[in-house]
């Protein structure tokens, strides 16, 4: 299956914009947020090394829904999903 992944604001530099990732059926968010599919620098910005959890300052939406309310790192992914990753924004 193909999942679209996009990063915003200063994460764009790490990510290089929008990418399409090919994943096995049944993949979950934890699988996606790994150096297997994403640039290692991007994973380092998103995942806390010690806890293995998504850093609290990072917001991730799957199809406009906050993944913290879908299943966190265990959120199931499906073909055509859009995953957007946001660092803290400036406001205003």
């Amino acid at each position: 299956m193909i999942v679209k992944v996009k990063a915003f604001a200063n994460l764009r530099e790490v990510f290089g914009g929008e990418i399409k990732v090919s994943l096995k059926e049944g993949a979950i968010l934890k699988d996606l947020l790994s150096p297997v599919y994403l640039p290692p620098e991007a994973v380092e910005v998103i995942i806390d090394n010690e806890s293995g959890e998504i850093k609290p300052t990072i917001l991730i939406l799957k199809n406009e829904r906050n993944i913290r309310f879908l299943g966190g790192l265990l959120t199931k992914l499906e073909d055509g999903d859009e995953v957007n990753i946001f660092p803290p924004l400036g406001g205003g």
Binding site: L59, G90, G92
Partner: protein, 619 residues
């Protein structure tokens, strides 16, 4: 260090400068210290003074209105965010509490001249400007400034005074022409919203030039210095060494579009999907460099923009921030970023609030599509969405109140009242102030903070709602009873009333103490500000006391509004803002619809201690 006045105040000058323009009288008043402890400064002192001195029901454009320029104790002290000044007045656009904030050095200059507050009353018989240079205060002839742009006025005054060191607040022709949403400009920064420029224009006051040489007294200089440094360190740790530079808030456009946070096509949607291409153009073609508004700012949200060549060629200028650009792109479906930069530059030169101007153009285009306004009504202009020639022409017409600009200069509420024919459904405003470039369908706390914002549907106080829901910013308020935003779905409705109440009481505090709000977005909590104020003033101020002052001020602003006739029905949002977006990716996300706004509102009333039926603060 010795306090400057015999009232034993530190951090304050202890003096209020009052100028009666009718009688050309200048007076210096001692400020009561007990009022400062209760209301601190900025919009806190502002609401206390205006509530006491303004009778209810006055015409905001009459000589009876007063306009107060307010510093806070932290203004001009080098504290993080301290390049910040407030202006308070009864708004000609809304008829209720009006305030606006401007970044830069003007407020610090006023304090160094020896005044915490400047109050302007009455009306001059001829165009005037005020000169403040320490104890020298003069009301000077301004005939030669009339009709000039804001940057021309600034230049002419500096030439006359032969001194570049003055900080100058000016109005443009929009203010002179009493456009209801005319602003006051200081360089390229603005006291943007609510029509402060029209109030000055109605007083025949075209500018205020300030310079000061005195020192601001500090109660505990070493501890204050340590507190400031610690706060700066905290902010840099959160924001990163570049802060918001170089793109400033404009850099948020792609993310906010993806979050469903940008009102699009006069609020018919909350997302356009063009954020990347719009910002890419801005970043590569229009952005010149970061431009912090005051010396020492580590967040550096300001920027210089330009259009190098072509139809919309525009000189380098401070401007083109998120709100202004969104108002001239998303609101009106304009994809031409050069035209948007040009239009917002014109707004600065004419002295127009960019948000209200973009919003009223969006209103007009919406009415045009629906056949409520036709080409003849619009002086032959084609008001199709995104027509750039029309957009730029309308800015000029509004500033000069010519043709259709006359009715549009009333704001969307005033314009819809004049036009009728069901156009009120297209006027997206609360209490008369047009909505800003953040959409509560991205996070519903914002719905409440928009509905209950004391100056109307503004982006300054309400934006904590958006930051809470979408950016998961807790503002350091969890120890003070705020629910952890990580546990709250942005689309949830229950519980948002209590959350909004906490955010409102804290969100007003930077405007009271005299610092830029971005500092509370980037790491500074109540304890940090309390420590700085305590070491500056010598008061033993706790975080809890600071939050109590915030609540007191918020409630008094509300009481001011109730006295002017505001009722529960004025806290409602326009229908369109609650509904599922008509198009865009959120049109399929049913949860973003705001289903029980009334329930959320009542929960907030209860949390705030306001009467459930009337929305009046009980104490």
């Amino acid at each position: 260090m010795e306090p400057r006045s015999h009232t034993q105040l530190y951090g304050y000058t202890g003096r209020l400068l009052r100028v009666d323009l009718t009688n050309e009288k200048v007076s210096f008043e001692e400020i009561k210290p007990e009022i400062l402890r209760e209301y601190i400064g900025g919009v806190g002192y502002g609401v206390k003074l205006l509530y006491d001195e303004l009778p209810a029901g006055i015409d905001p454009l009459s000589p009876e209105n007063k306009i107060l320029f307010a510093t806070g104790p932290l203004t001009g002290t080098g504290a993080p965010g301290s390049g910040s000044t407030e202006v308070c007045f009864k708004s000609p656009l809304t008829g209720i509490w009006g305030e606006a904030r401007c970044g830069g050095e003007w407020g610090g200059a006023l304090k160094k001249a020896g005044y915490d507050f400047l109050v302007l009353e009455g009306k001059a018989k001829e165009p005037k400007y005020i000169l403040i240079d320490d104890d020298k205060v003069e009301i000077r002839n301004a005939k030669k400034l009339k009709g000039k742009t804001t940057s021309q006025k600034d230049k002419l005054i500096k030439e006359e005074l032969m001194d570049e060191a003055f900080e100058i607040a000016v109005i443009g022709s929009a203010g002179e022409n009493l456009v209801k949403f005319a602003n006051i400009m200081i360089g390229g920064r603005a006291f943007g919203r609510c029509g402060a420029g029209a109030v000055m224009g109605a007083k025949n006051l075209l500018a205020i030039a300030v310079k000061g040489s005195k020192k601001i007294s500090v109660a505990k200089p070493e501890e204050f210095s340590l507190a400031r440094k610690e706060c700066n360190r905290k902010v840099l740790a959160k924001a990163g060494k570049d802060g918001l530079a170089p793109g400033g808030t404009t850099g948020d456009i792609p993310a906010c579009d993806a979050l469903g946070d940008i009102p699009t096509k006069n609020w018919r949607s909350n997302s356009w999907g063009k954020g990347d291409e719009l910002y890419h153009h801005f970043e590569s073609k229009n952005l010149v460099r970061a431009n912090p508004c005051y010396k020492g700012c580590v967040l550096r949200c300001g920027r210089i923009a330009e259009v190098k060549e072509g139809k919309w060629e525009t000189p380098q200028h401070e401007g083109a921030e998120y709100e202004s650009i969104c108002a001239f792109t998303y609101f009106i479906l304009n994809e031409d970023m050069d035209a948007a930069v040009h239009a917002t530059y014109l707004c600065n030169e004419y002295g127009l609030d960019t948000i209200s101007t973009g919003a009223v153009i969006a209103f007009a285009m919406d009415c045009y599509e629906k056949g409520i306004i036709n080409k003849e009504d619009a002086d032959g202009l084609d008001l199709t969405w995104g027509n750039t020639e029309t957009i730029v022409e309308l800015v000029k017409k509004i500033a000069n109140r010519k043709g259709i600009g006359q009715v549009l200069s009333e704001g969307t509420r005033g314009a819809s009242q004049k036009i009728g024919k069901g156009s009120d459904a297209m006027a997206i405003q609360v209490k008369g102030l047009e909505g800003a470039a953040h959409d509560p369908r991205s996070g519903k706390t914002l719905a409440l903070t928009y509905g209950l914002g004391n100056r109307g549907m503004c982006h300054i106080h309400p934006i904590e709602g958006m930051a809470y829901d979408s950016l998961k910013n807790d503002f350091g308020l969890i120890p003070y009873g705020l629910t952890d935003p990580q546990t709250v779905d942005r689309f949830a409705e229950k519980g948002k009333g209590k959350i909004a109440a906490k955010l409102q009481d804290w969100g007003v505090v930077p405007d009271i103490v005299g610092i830029c709000k971005f500092y509370i977005y980037n790491g500074l909590g109540p304890g940090d500000l309390a420590r700085q104020i305590s070491t500056l003033t010598g008061w033993d101020m706790s975080a809890e006391e600071l939050l109590t002052v915030g609540k007191r001020v918020y409630n008094l602003q509300r009481t001011f509004n109730v006295r002017e006739g505001v009722k529960k029905s004025d806290d409602m949002l326009p229908e369109r803002v609650l509904k599922l977006p008509e198009f865009g990716k959120y049109a399929q996300v049913k949860d973003c619809e705001i289903k029980d706004y009334n329930g959320m509102l009542e929960e907030c009333y209860v949390a705030r201690g306001w009467d459930l039926e009337t929305g009046i603060p009980k104490n």
